[in-house]
């Protein structure tokens, strides 16, 4: 059991919390037809994180967030510039900017000496969930032992705080968020600051993407934004229940994905474990596929409405 505490408990918890932190804003991104913003954010944060590391020499939460926010700002300016100067449609401008910035981040990372910290191209792409282990755990008693708890990987409290803050924000601002997602014009007339709400949603997504970077890397994080909420949408016709289901699916993906990655190959006689992040994303995709085939509300019931 010590082995589980040392090797598996923290990665699983970090996986679960990352998945939830991304899935919560993901529900609203999908309903606002902004799912690709999650993708764009996850790509754009990479150069920001690398530059923040180069500037400070450490991997810490605050510089990473600042770097990611700076990168997001640069991305927005670049997208606007390309749209205006090049007269290119917005989708293409976004695609060009976020893939180029991501590529720049990869090149920058490759040329940087990051051997002392968990930051290299492989981790950036696929996360380093398996390495987030808890050396100080000696038994279940460690869960209440302050000395042992102090040895927890710092990624765990970081993602726990982010997930908690996002959950509280979603709860407190539920009404304006739902209202402006459904009917932005009406929301504005009753005094909802729709622009601020929209920006805050994107900002929360960016924070979730940065915090989940350790767990699943910056490419696979998009699966956490999209798959659990998309599968949840097919389970229910009420937003409150949809968000509940998305949390269930996010948790399920993280647990099943981690266990399958660690032990699955052994069951088939293979020697090595596979990437936990990759398996978590794959499991969330499988859940979505099953939901598409079998969930109770899988038809787009709005499709056959009258003219309008």
């Amino acid at each position: 059991m010590d082995g589980f505490l040392q090797l598996s408990l923290t990665p699983i918890l970090i996986g679960i919390l990352s998945a939830i932190a991304c899935a919560l804003p993901g529900n609203f991104l999908i309903l606002r037809r902004q799912a690709l913003i999650g993708d764009a954010i996850s790509h754009v944060v990479l150069p920001g994180i690398v530059v923040a590391f180069l500037a400070t020499g450490v991997i810490a939460a605050l510089p990473m967030l600042v770097g990611a926010a700076g990168a997001a700002l640069v991305a927005v300016i670049l997208i606007e510039t390309i749209k205006r100067v090049g007269r290119i449609e917005p989708g293409a401008a976004m695609g060009v900017v976020f893939t180029s910035m991501f590529a720049a981040g990869v090149l920058l990372l490759e040329q940087t000496d990051t051997s002392a910290v968990h930051l290299d191209v492989e981790h950036a792409l696929m996360g380093n969930l398996e390495s987030l282990i808890w050396f100080d755990a000696t038994g279940w008693g460690s869960l209440v032992d302050p000395v042992a708890l102090a040895g927890l990987p710092p990624e765990l409290p970081r993602i726990a705080v982010v997930a908690a803050v996002i959950a509280v924000l979603a709860f407190v601002f539920w009404r304006p968020l739902k209202l402006s997602t459904f009917d932005e014009g009406f929301a504005a007339t009753v005094g909802v600051p729709t622009r601020t709400i929209g920006l805050a949603l994107v900002a929360a997504s960016a924070v979730a993407a940065v915090a989940a970077f350790d767990a699943v890397g910056s490419i696979i994080v998009i699966a956490m934004f999209i798959c659990p909420p998309a599968a949840a949408r097919l389970m229910t016709n009420r937003l409150e229940a949809q968000v509940g289901w998305s949390v269930v699916f996010a948790t399920l993906s993280a647990i099943v994905g981690y266990v399958l990655a660690g032990y699955g190959p052994l069951w088939f006689g293979a020697q090595n474990a596979v990437s936990a992040a990759g398996m978590i994303a794959a499991v969330s995709g499988v859940i979505l596929a099953i939901a598409c085939l079998a969930a109770p509300h899988r038809r787009r019931i709005g499709a056959a409405q009258g003219q309008g």
């Binding site: 009404r175 009917d183 009406f186 005094g191 009420r238 309008g308």
Partner: protein, 271 residues
């Protein structure tokens, strides 16, 4: 792209509303200009709409009717101009206004039920965290009753027909219990029964001394439904009581002479 043509044409009868007009009006607009690109969508529109009346905003496609409504409510930014609602700034008058957007402006596949949409009308009462009480649900049901949709309260909104969607939007506006109702094309693409149901509700609002302003497309029903008209085509063409302002001359000016005279002959026009 051609340069924007902004020169002012002299318009007979068009004058800026006086401070007294603005104070007495339900909705007073002064020199409202809105632009989405290089060309203005609405240019320097003045209006002082009377209280306790039924007002139609009329004009061809692309004339800026919906944009004018949105600018009046602060949904789209205006380049210039000011708005007064019952003589007040918009921010202070939000509780006195209810807005019904175009039905097609929202995604009806959104995961929510009919009753939840009506409950959105209580947002200003409830704020962020105040509990929804039984009284709110009863009032929401009463609003659905008034538009003939009480049986649909628990339905997913995606299951509704276009006319039913429009009635749900109207019920949400009723829940707001406002004094000024602004509706964007409430009769667009709805069946005859729904049109009748909606106009009946709007008439009861007028009877209850409320003001109703509709962006309206169907020239044939203007004289029957509305007692005041605002004719616009980017600029204001004319504004006044239907009985004196809804004339063939004003309509031809609004539609740029594109209305067939046979079509005009069938309208109940004032002379």
């Amino acid at each position: 792209m051609a340069p924007p043509k902004l020169e002012l044409a002299a318009e007979d009868g068009a004058r800026a509303p006086s401070p007294e007009d603005i104070a007495n009006a339900s909705l007073a607009l002064s020199e409202i200009t809105v632009s989405y690109g290089e060309k203005p969508a609405v240019f320097s529109v003045d209006a002082a709409l009377p209280r306790e009346s039924m007002v139609a905003i009329i004009g061809p496609n692309g004339a800026g009717k919906s944009t004018l409504l949105k600018a009046a409510l602060g949904i789209v930014p205006r380049l210039s101009g000011s708005v007064r609602i019952f003589g007040q700034e918009l921010e202070r008058a939000r509780d006195r206004v209810a807005y019904v957007p175009q039905r097609a402006s929202v995604d009806w596949d959104f995961p929510t039920r009919v009753i939840d949409v009506v409950l959105m009308g209580f947002y200003r009462e409830l704020g962020l965290l105040r509990f929804l009480r039984k009284g709110h649900r009863e009032r929401a049901r009463a609003c659905l009753e008034r538009v003939g949709m009480a049986d649909f309260a628990e339905r997913q909104i995606g299951q509704l027909s276009g006319g039913q969607q429009q009635r749900v939007f109207l019920a949400r506006a009723l829940a707001q219990d406002a004094e000024l109702y602004l509706l964007d094309e409430p009769f667009a693409g709805v069946d005859a029964a729904t049109e009748k149901a909606i106009i009946d509700v709007l008439h009861t609002l007028k009877t209850a001394r409320k003001t109703v302003v509709c962006v309206h497309h169907d020239l044939a029903t203007v004289a029957d439904y509305f007692d005041h008209v605002l004719l616009i085509n980017v600029r204001k063409v004319a504004e006044g009581p239907t009985s004196t302002t809804f004339t063939a001359k004003n309509l031809q000016a609004t539609y740029g002479g594109r209305l067939a005279s046979t079509h005009i002959d069938q309208l109940k026009l004032s002379s």
